[in-house]
């Protein structure tokens, strides 16, 4: 079996259909476990009190917002180099989820900032670059929606995402560059982490849950996109859910 077998929409469609329930279930179970750990088991933070518990959704969303953009950049490269249609469809399927997580990260960050910093929003480097990331998602979706010719929309979107992906490292290093009000990262591989073990576990499990959720939703969405685009292909007419 060649690795490229599943780069054809006709063979990826049923595979995605089989994978969705697995990732969906996994996401649900991890979210239940992570939320239990985060909301009931993890101790109260000695500085921030109960407010800190928003990190169990805030940090995973921020990670996913950035990570999904990187995944899109990878698909963009595949779409431009190998001219695979499916890669561009995956980008299109991932973008709304990435945008949702980025918006969620900003929203939860604002809710956390009010009681902790005393303000919903500060023009701090990391928040600002997350906002830019949100704009990048908006720009990509606007461009892809505006171009009627799907082939051109795919390639144009891929190029835009590649150019924009230069921005993602800037986001990551911005804390070091500008070094403003935003607290430095608490999870660090070099200095050992400053969090209680249960807090960290809860956060990591929630991150996994968000990851699995993203995969499940993106696969669902890509199936819809495949059906939409391949409506006139012969193989689509033989699918059970299309026939009935």
């Amino acid at each position: 079996m060649s690795l490229f077998k599943y780069s054809a929409p006709s063979s990826f469609y049923p595979l995605a259909g089989r994978l969705v329930p697995w990732f969906g279930t996994l996401a649900f179970l991890l979210a239940v476990g992570g939320l239990y750990l985060g909301l009931f088991v993890a101790p109260e933070d000695y500085q921030q009190g109960e407010v800190y518990r928003i990190i169990f959704i805030h940090v995973p969303s921020a990670w996913m917002g950035m990570f999904i953009y990187l995944v899109m950049a990878m698909y963009a490269l595949l779409a431009l180099v190998y001219q695979t249609r499916l890669s561009a469809m995956m980008m299109e399927a991932l973008a709304p989820t990435g945008m949702m997580f980025t918006a969620l990260a900003l929203w939860t960050g604002a809710l956390w900032g009010k009681p902790t910093w005393g303000t919903y929003w500060v023009w701090d480097a990391r928040m600002t670059s997350t906002l830019i990331l949100l704009f990048l998602y908006v720009g990509y979706m606007a461009l892809v929606n505006a171009i009627d010719d799907k082939k051109r929309a795919d390639k144009a979107g891929a190029l835009l995402v590649l150019v924009g992906s230069i921005n993602v490292p800037i986001i990551y290093f911005s804390v070091k560059w500008w070094n403003t009000l935003h607290q430095g990262a608490s999870v660090s591989l070099t200095q050992g982490n400053k969090m209680a073990a249960t807090m960290l576990a809860g956060m990591l499990i929630m991150a996994l849950a968000c990851w699995m959720y993203s995969i499940a939703v993106a696969l669902c969405r890509v199936r819809a996109i495949i059906l939409e685009r391949e409506l006139h292909a012969a193989w689509v007419k033989d699918i059970r859910e299309v026939r009935t």
């Binding site: 505006a146 144009a156 921005n167």
Partner: protein
Amino acid sequence: MSAVLASEQELSTPERGVWLTLTRDIKLAMRSKGELAQALAFFIIVVSLFPLAIGPESAVLKRIAAGVVWVCALLAVMLTLPRLFQSDYVDGTLEQLALSPYPLPLLCAGKMLAHWLSTGLPLAMVAPVLGLQFGLDASELLVMVAGLLIGTPVLTMLGAIGAALVLGVRGGSILMALLVLPLYIPVLIFGAGAVEASLAGIDATANLSLLAAMLLFGLVTTPFAAAAAVKISLD
């Protein structure tokens, strides 16, 4: 157009592609001076609106001068971006350029250079006068002009990619703002940051160096990205 169709002898140096589009676009720009003046007038008028909206206190104006000038420069450059490819796309010249034996990235580089010479450079030349209106001193004005001279080419180069991507797309100009403005933000931060730093009495070279780094990185990458974007739009 005839200048683009090169003889085989000229082709021995593909770098001439830069020169060909550069001279051609400059010539075209000089023939429509009104269009050049429009961008400058826009820049000056919008900058002058801010004191009217905010009030004439000189301390406040001095604080916001760098940001206002840079944001207006961003918008002025963005509004002129269609000039890069739009008319060539409509009359088919762009297709001929893409088919010509010269490497398309070099042709795009020539176009970018011409665009910067006809927009970014004049903006940077006018900026000190506007800075004076906001009460900036000579040293701060110098930093602002230096920042604009280094930063506006980056705006042109990034903008060229966006301008090429939206060719022939409905709602192109608003769409281009959505694509291009987020990419402009780092230039804005460091450009305005340089003036802020010199206002605060700190050395501005760190900000200017970062701008210069973006310029150098853009020089080697954006012509290829713009050429790829042109090819996508011509498909």
